[in-house]
Every structure is written in C-alpha cells, then in structure tokens.
C-alpha cells in the first residue's frame, strides 16, 4: 500500500545535510530563539521552500539538526559495570562537544519547550533505555545492589553532564583524562563502591 518509490525528482540529500549543519552552527552561536531560517537559506544560497519542504516548523528543524549531530552510540559491554556506565556517560559528553562550534547554544536549544519532546522521543528515551540495560546486566552479574533506583543513577549522571556543561562553561577547561577520572569516581559512588 505505502508507495515505497517516490515519483518525481528526489530531495537533494547533500542540500539536506548542508542545511542541518548550518542550523547546528547557528543554533550553537545564536540560540534557538535567534535562529533565523531566512539567514540559513541566504547563507546556503537556497530558497526557504527547500527548507520548509523538509521540516514543517522551526522547532522541527532545530530538533532534526540537533539529532543529526548526536549519535545514539553503541551499547558499552566491557563486562564491568563501572566501565560500562562511564562509557555510557561519556557518550553524552562526546555528543555535546562534537556539536559545539561556538558556544553552548545547541545544548540549551534542546531544552526549548517545543524542541524537547522531539529530542526526548528520538534520543533521550533510547539513551535511558540503554542505561537501564547496562544496570540490569550489572544486577544480573551481582555487581550492583538490587535495591538501588536505576533512574536515579542515570539521571544523576546525565544531569551532572548537563549542569556542568551549561553552568561551568567559563571555568578553566579540564583534560579528558581528568574528566574521565571524575566520571569514574562519580559512578563508583553511585553504584555503592567504596573510595
């Protein structure tokens, strides 16, 4: 029933990619509120119609651009719960830093009330499910006390990343090695390891 082969001229995939990249850059520099679709079209030398043909509204466009820069990532499976959780948390850092070109406008744009549901459905919920799978595996292997709230552990890790990246952006930057040590000790504390 569903026509699988579109009929006329197909969408220009390269243009799609260029639009998403340009939106990501402007989103990061100017924020969602100051993202100008007309500027994107002008910068790329294309018409607004090419953009509105692909995405119906500005929030939808912004969400698509953000998601285009994020990778769901592979499920960490090292055999060690702490290692897996650190890797899982670090994927968030990678996603945000990989999309950051000017400031942290892209990260903040995720939290627009009209953008958030789209990001949540397409990304956050799947990430959360991955985290829960990691923790469930840890319980199965006897690495994790069975009375801990997995949502709390995952929200704490993700919340720390979000809060640090948005609120401590002006602090002297830390090396990846130092940040990884921070994540490791945080994870160990959350899953009930001593030290």
């Amino acid at each position: 029933m569903t026509q699988d082969t579109p009929k006329g001229r197909p969408l220009d995939a390269e243009l799609t990619a260029r639009v998403l990249a340009a939106v990501r850059a402007d989103l990061d520099e100017f924020g969602f509120m100051n993202l100008r679709i007309e500027k994107i079209a002008a910068d790329l030398g294309c018409g607004k119609t090419a953009i509105y043909r692909r995405w119906p509204t500005k929030p939808a466009l912004a969400a698509a651009a953000i998601l285009d820069g994020f990778a769901l990532g592979e499920m960490p499976d090292t055999g060690d719960l702490v290692d897996d959780l650190v890797a899982h948390a670090w994927q968030n850092v990678d996603n945000v830093r990989g999309s950051r070109t000017h400031g942290n406008g892209l990260l903040l744009a995720m939290f627009d009330m009209d953008v958030m549901p789209l990001i949540s459905e397409a990304f956050m919920q799947k990430r959360h499910a991955m985290g829960r799978a990691i923790l469930a595996r840890g319980v199965d292997r006897g690495e994790l006390r069975s009375d801990l709230d997995h949502d709390v552990i995952l929200d704490t890790l993700a919340g720390f990343t979000l809060f640090t990246l948005t609120q401590r952006a002006d602090d002297p930057p830390r090396s990846d090695a130092e940040m990884l040590r921070t994540y490791r000790s945080l994870v160990r504390a959350l899953v009930g390891r001593s030290t």
Copy 2:
C-alpha cells in the same frame, strides 16, 4: 549622586506583581517561545507600555518573572553536612514546584540562551556559593574528605534535580518522604559515606 527619590508618579507595585505572576503562569503553560506579551497585557487589562516601562525585552521579563518565584533561601546550618546538603538540594525542588502551575515550561524557560545568563547571575551563582560554603564548613568540621571536588558534588545534586524534573515528569509521582530519602542517599554517596 544617585537620585534616590524618584520624581513623578511611582510605578504601581501591585501591577508589577500581577504582571510577574501572569508571566510565570503563561511561561509554565506555553513556554518561553510562545509567551505573548500582548496576551499578558490583555489578560491583565493594562497596556503594553506598562510592561515595557519595567522590563526592556521579553527575556528580561521572563527572567524577572522566574526569579520572582524563586527564593534564594536561608543557608542551612544544622551542624550536620549531610542534612545541610539535603536541605540545600531540596530548596531547588521547592522553588521549581512552587512555580509550577501547568507543566514544566517555567523550568525549561530558564534554559533559553537569552534568559539563562540573567538567572545565572542573579540566582544560580549565589546558590552555588551557598553550596560551596556548606561543603567548606563540612571540611572544617572534618566531616568531608578534603580531596573531593565541591563543584562536582553540587553540580551532581542540582543536575539530578533538573534532569528528574524535566525528564521524569510523566512518571508516577513520588511522595516527598520518598524523594527526601533519595536525596539523602544520593548525598551520602557523594560525600563518601557508606550505605
């Protein structure tokens, strides 16, 4: 030098309060992007000029409304580090829940790129300083290992609250007592207490 006594007719303080309350309600219901200053004026039966006389732009108005619903809170001083940190973290929950009337649009509005700096300067940085003071006191009393990163502890607590309130809003609500137990065990884990 600074004229301390304004000359003509003073601003209507009650109108100021009514505007801020109305903005908070609409912000929470519709989000920052869909906040309509003309609607606020119409709902209140006042002119737009009365609003623009007080705040120059929409982000400034939104920030003022958000801050008007937030209380910096008193610095907890129970003599116990864990109790103080739990109380400190709980103040965030109180602020957000006290401002929540329809959804979580108000919480998300804080993270608009143009609103965030205003909230950060007037609120977040002071809250962070309070948290640091609590932790410093804990170190002085020997309740806290001296090698822990205080920023990490505070960002983790605040980030957990933010992430939970934005991402788990649809989950079955937990009682205050249960949430307080969660915060307590989280704080204990972060400051290196066993259990």
